[in-house]
Assembly symmetry: C2
Homo-oligomer: 310 residues x 2
Amino acid sequence: MEREGPLFPYFDFCMPDALWEEKTWEKAERKMLKFVIDRAAKKAGLNLKDIDAIVAGDLLNQIISSSFAARDFNMCFLGQYGACSTMSQSLIVGGAFVEGGHFKNVACAASSHFATAERQYRFPLELGCQRPPTAQRTVTGAGCTILTQNKSHIKINGGTIGKVTDWNISDANNMGAVMAPAAADTIYRHLKNTDTSPNDYDYIVTGDLGFFGKELCSEILKKDYSLNIDSVHIDCGCEIYTKDMDVDSGGSGCGCSASVFNGYLLKKMKNKEITKILLVATGAMLSLTTALQNETIPGIAHAVEIERLS
Amino acid sequence: MEREGPLFPYFDFCMPDALWEEKTWEKAERKMLKFVIDRAAKKAGLNLKDIDAIVAGDLLNQIISSSFAARDFNMCFLGQYGACSTMSQSLIVGGAFVEGGHFKNVACAASSHFATAERQYRFPLELGCQRPPTAQRTVTGAGCTILTQNKSHIKINGGTIGKVTDWNISDANNMGAVMAPAAADTIYRHLKNTDTSPNDYDYIVTGDLGFFGKELCSEILKKDYSLNIDSVHIDCGCEIYTKDMDVDSGGSGCGCSASVFNGYLLKKMKNKEITKILLVATGAMLSLTTALQNETIPGIAHAVEIERLS
């Protein structure tokens, strides 16, 4: 599906199929993460032994994609869980360690896989369940950013860590509505704390609100925060697929913002097409256990401000 | 069980039972985390609104104890997953943000609950499965440390982030053997990088290796690293229970090192009984999915060096 989407030309590599020569989808997801960490290091001109640490996460229980991928690298590992907000969370955490001088080079990564997520969070794929229009398709994708103390044309200016918000939504097929309030809160706080306005950014990029959630986020920002970001607002979940594809409300998953940010947006920055973005990856704290115990689904969103130096 | 153990007098509070007036064990675990964050803030002389962020994790899928606890606090949240190594992982991550000046006060917390862990990772309690002698009992406990830029008598000198190690063990009832090599590697690297020897510490405190794993760790250190830490080596999983209790190889879980460190060791530091410790919380990346897919269990251990200033 990601191959058929409009961003395909930007991606470094596309797997031939969902299994990628592995026996299970979970093993394939792990292989994806290992691939992007290795590839990102090479593209940064670094040997793997120069990478001090991996800061990564994914959607699977016990973040097995990340921890089992890290097993094959001789690097320090800090496992993150922020649901689909993991890409920006890992950039924030990795950034603090690089800025603080604790590490020279850190690999920040995230992944998701449609088939592993669907069978863990919803139904076996074999059931062929119908999905409502607000459902989103978990992106099969992974991305890795290398943060370095070496000279670079692109830097992280700072970020805003999200708060866990809950608007009492319990529909596991409406993650956009869960995450939109969290995204709005984080975007508002970031702009206020940095004294910037939407026009200071080429894009404010939400993670994976999807078509429905993106609209909702825009509405919340206007109504509750008197803030209009429409002119610069794009959403990774809306960019990676088109509306006419069979993806309901668009893309989701850690791999959505990870692949769109690393594959598409960073390339546009390198090509000097854009200068400054605010990446606001968004996560829904969906859990089978809490759903069965009549809980609602909280959301979170972390913002990272990334700029190209002239 | 924790009430019957030798450290009971050190703990701030002991729940009356495993449910603590909640409908489910999972809700009780969440209540424990909320309780320790609130209590730790009060003991640090801070209002909750002075705490900028929560850095926390637990053993449950999607770290629901931490994220749902964070929902009830108006604070930034960074979810961590390092299995039972989470207490030291959260201290390392929280410490980087406080040292870097990004936050003034950060709550670092972790929890585990025997009943929630047992039914998620192993068998329903109602089955009454027999356990082998290498099995450990997940501690029902939680702990929180407030890291602050304010003046304090106790500080974190630094830490060593763990690498994911795998010695090809696939027995879910032998977590000590999974974590011992990881602990040995991290202890060795920390002592080497800081140019210290075991005698520079009052205690080198492994997280939850248990009776069997502690011995194994000691053996690995001697054989593979020519390092003898026996005179200062204690293990939270061996301290919290006694051998004559029905706990097989001792305690485990994020809550083991979290409660022993925050309840017992920090109090001994405050009372000037000890000056410097190396806390090496240890985690086993146990997962139902990977176990079913014939994978072994990797381990990780993070070390934090904590010192009392005169």
